[in-house]
Structures are given as structure tokens and as C-alpha cells.
């Protein structure tokens, strides 16, 4: 199983990755139009980090850049700002992904929360969102929620990508 996990190639699950990004963008759009609280993590970045950590034959920086541009369009922010944020977080993941992949899922979840905290911090510095009352707490609680979300995501995407690779 572990050998198989380490030998997965992006080309084996290209369509799964593409569809997952579209679904993630759709979920982020639902969260935006549904006026959900800032506690919900950006799923696009979540998926990007998962694929980056598990498919080691690519840097995924092109995907990060492109998804960042789409996020800029979605959130109506300066073009390139989310692209820069996504590229930076992906780069941080690339630097440690071999070690990250070897950790158990719960440990990965804690590391992901650190990545998400970096994202929130950079997001705050870049855009200075105006947060009132509870929103401040919710904004900074997002990395903690990521700890709970990561195991579910890792399990589901792991199953799907292995099924796709087997086919």
C-alpha cells in the first residue's frame, strides 16, 4: 500500500484532480454567496495542498497560480494577490512534503492547521478584511477547524485517487 502510495503519478489521476478543483471552487462559491462565516477554510487551497503532498512528480505551482487567479476573480481582489498567496503556501508544502507524507494523518492535520494559519495571516496582511464582533474569533479559528477537516478529506481523496489510478 505504502509503495503504491508513493508511486502515484499525476497523469494517473489527472481528471480526478481537475474535477476536484472544480468542486472545491463551487464549494468556495457557495460559501461566498451563502454568506457563511470566515471559520470555513478555503477548500480550493485544501485540495491543492492534498494533491501537492501526494503526487510528488509535479510541483503543482502552475495549478496554485491558476487557482489563485480564479480566487481573485471570485473574491474580486487585486489580480495576482491570491495567486501569490496560493503559490507561497504551495511552495512551503513542496519544501516539506516528503516528510509530511510520512506522518500519520492526525499529525498531518496539525501541520495543515499551521499552513492554514500562515494563509490567514498573509490574507490578513494583504487584504485587511474588516471583521466585526464574532467574525474576528471565527477568522482565527479557521486553522483549528482544518484539523478536523483534514482526516476526512485525506481519507476520501485517498480512496478516490487510488480507485482512479487502478482504473
Amino acid at each position: 500500500m505504502s509503495n503504491k502510495l508513493f508511486s502515484l503519478k499525476t497523469s494517473q489521476a489527472r481528471w480526478v484532480i481537475l474535477i476536484s478543483y472544480i468542486i472545491a471552487l463551487a464549494f468556495d462559491t457557495i460559501a461566498l454567496f451563502g454568506h457563511s462565516s470566515p471559520v470555513i477554510p478555503p477548500l480550493t487551497l485544501f485540495f491543492l495542498l492534498y494533491w501537492c503532498a501526494n503526487f510528488l512528480d509535479r510541483t503543482h505551482l502552475f495549478s496554485a497560480f491558476l487557482l489563485g487567479l480564479l480566487a481573485d476573480t471570485l473574491y474580486q481582489t487585486t489580480l495576482g494577490s491570491h495567486a501569490l498567496l496560493f503559490s507561497m503556501i504551495t511552495f512551503l508544502m513542496i519544501r516539506h512534503r516528503l516528510r509530511f507524507k510520512g506522518y500519520p494523518v492526525w499529525q498531518q492535520a496539525f501541520l495543515i492547521s499551521l499552513y492554514m494559519m500562515s494563509y490567514q495571516l498573509l490574507n490578513y496582511l494583504f487584504f485587511s478584511p474588516v471583521l466585526n464582533g464574532n467574525e474576528i474569533v471565527q477568522y482565527w479559528t479557521m486553522p483549528a477547524l482544518s484539523i478536523l477537516l483534514w482526516p476526512v478529506l485525506a481519507y476520501s481523496l485517498g480512496k478516490i485517487s487510488h480507485t482512479a489510478a487502478d482504473d
Binding site: I22, L25, A26, F27, T29, I30, L32, F33, G34, H35, P38, T59, L61, F62, A64, F65, G68, L69, L70, D72, T73, L74, Y75, Q76, T77, T78, L79, G80, S81, A83, L84, S87, M88, F91, I94, F127, P129, V130, L131, N132, E135
Partner: protein, 286 residues
């Protein structure tokens, strides 16, 4: 190496987008790309509305129809008075020999398809785009006042930056005193009136209307009502908070104003809009 390229490209894009107008068409392409995803994202809400609104009471609809008919009659009567007044003013102006003119705008009715009410960005998406001759910087109003301006267009949709967006500013004047200022968005459902000196006579409840300075927004449309005035120590200006008069997140139908034209083409768009309503699902109004 890949990271260095992505980093440099992102910085170049940010600078180009911030200081130039070159990125408008590129953003339009991205907006067109993301448009199908936005439609997919609204499907669950539309399905929910479809299942809930189908059970609306017939009596309620009859009552609403009656109310709308009465309202329409009253508006038509007012419109007749307005036309007479317009002619009267033109006659008086020609008698006085002044060069003044009443500006009338060409109107387009559009439907709000979705909206974002996020601290980062506040915008609406409308179902009219380049194919309907919608262009950037056109003003969007509802029945109560100015909502914002068109910032991006795709062939079938357009995006409106609301006056409450942190990046939005509109030149206004206090209707009662004529005092001018700049109204900026706060990222929430209020706006901040800047550059009002402490000696100014503004009061809570004063109506702010567009001043027309800058030439983007037409003059004389209501924008916001002053709700709070604070006088902070060393600051030479007052901290004035105002609430928009338009129903920014509740309006379903809005009007897009074009540049001044000698006539109104309201009826044509009204017919088109009514035909659209027969096939479209209404947006949930709060």
C-alpha cells in the same frame, strides 16, 4: 525556479491591476471562465427556492397582483406629472435663455442572479452583459437609490461593485446643506463619509445624494442617510457613518443607467424583463 516565476508573475499582475486599466479584459476572461462554476454553485439554492415557492398561496399572489396594479397606476400618474414638469422647465429655460438641460438616462432592467456580502468584497452579479450593451462604469440603482457601478462584464453577465465595498468611493453632497464629501465603503452594510470638517452642519438623518463630480455617477440620486456622527479629539474631520438607502442585498430587479440620452427606453426593457420573469426563478429576497 517555478516558484520564482510564479512569484514574479503574481507581483507584475498585481502592479498592472492596481495601477493600470490593462487587466480589465483579462479579468473579463477569468470571469467568463468562472461563470459556469458560479452557476453550478447556485443550483442548490435555486432547487430549494423551486421546492418552497411552488406552494405559495394563490390568494397571496392575487393580493400581490392587486397591490402591484395599484402601484403601477400611481406611478403612471406621477410619470404624467413629471413629463409636464419637464416640458414646463424646458419652456422656462428657453425663456430665460439658459443652457441648462434636464439629463435623462437610458435605463435597462436587470435581474440580480447572485451576490457576495463578504468583508473582502461586496458585489452583485446581474443577468445583463456585453450582448445587452452593458459597459463598465455604468451606474446601477434600485427603486430607492444608488447601489454601485458596473466593474466587469462578460457577454451574458455583469458584476456590480456595491457602494459598501471597501474599495468603492462615490462623491456625494448633503442634500440639505450642499456640503460635499467622499462616501467610502466599509466592507459591511454601512459607509463612511470622509472629508467633512468639524465646522460642518451635518446632522443625523441627513440624506446624501450623488454630486456628479468625476462624471461617473449622475448627480442627484439618493445614496445614503447619515446614522452616526463622531467628533474625535485631534482629527480635523468628523467621523460620519451613513447607511445606504438602496436595498443592496434584497433587491431582485435593478436598473442600469447609461449615459444621458434624449429619451427613455424604459418600456422596451420592461416588456423584455417581464418575459424573462416567466421563465426565470426569482431570487430569494430577505
Amino acid at each position: 525556479m517555478h516558484f520564482v516565476i510564479a512569484f514574479t508573475l503574481a507581483i507584475v499582475l498585481m502592479v498592472a491591476d492596481h495601477y493600470g486599466q490593462l487587466m480589465g479584459s483579462f479579468r473579463g476572461v477569468l470571469l467568463t471562465t468562472i461563470s459556469p462554476i458560479e452557476r453550478i454553485a447556485t443550483l442548490p439554492k435555486q432547487f430549494y427556492q423551486l421546492t418552497t415557492t411552488d406552494f405559495t398561496n394563490v390568494d397571496t399572489l392575487k393580493l400581490e397582483n392587486q397591490r402591484l396594479k395599484t402601484e403601477l397606476l400611481l406611478i403612471k400618474a406621477k410619470q404624467q406629472q413629471f413629463s409636464n414638469l419637464q416640458l414646463e422647465v424646458s419652456r422656462l429655460e428657453s425663456l430665460l435663455g439658459t443652457a441648462g438641460k434636464i439629463n435623462t438616462q437610458s435605463l435597462k432592467i436587470a435581474t440580480v442572479t447572485y451576490y457576495s456580502n463578504n468583508p473582502l468584497s461586496q458585489y452583485l452579479t446581474l443577468n445583463k452583459g456585453q450582448l445587452n450593451n452593458v459597459i463598465e462604469q455604468q451606474t446601477v440603482i434600485d427603486s430607492k437609490g444608488i447601489m454601485g457601478q458596473i466593474i466587469n462584464t462578460t457577454p451574458t453577465h455583469s458584476r456590480v461593485l456595491l457602494i459598501t465595498d471597501p474599495d468603492h468611493q462615490i462623491p456625494v453632497r448633503v442634500q440639505r446643506t450642499g456640503q460635499r464629501g467622499i462616501l467610502s465603503g466599509t466592507g459591511h452594510e454601512t459607509t463612511q463619509l470622509g472629508f467633512i470638517p468639524k465646522t460642518s452642519l451635518v446632522e443625523i438623518g441627513d440624506l446624501l445624494e450623488s454630486s456628479g463630480l468625476g462624471g461617473v455617477f449622475p448627480a442627484g440620486y439618493p445614496v445614503a442617510v447619515i446614522t452616526q456622527i463622531e467628533n474625535k479629539g485631534g482629527n480635523p474631520y468628523l467621523d460620519v457613518t451613513a447607511t445606504p438607502v438602496a436595498d443592496l442585498f434584497q433587491s431582485h430587479k435593478v436598473l442600469i443607467l447609461s449615459q444621458a440620452t434624449p429619451y427613455l427606453n424604459f418600456d422596451e426593457d420592461l416588456d423584455e424583463s417581464l418575459n424573462e420573469d416567466a421563465t426565470e426563478e426569482p431570487l430569494d429576497v430577505k
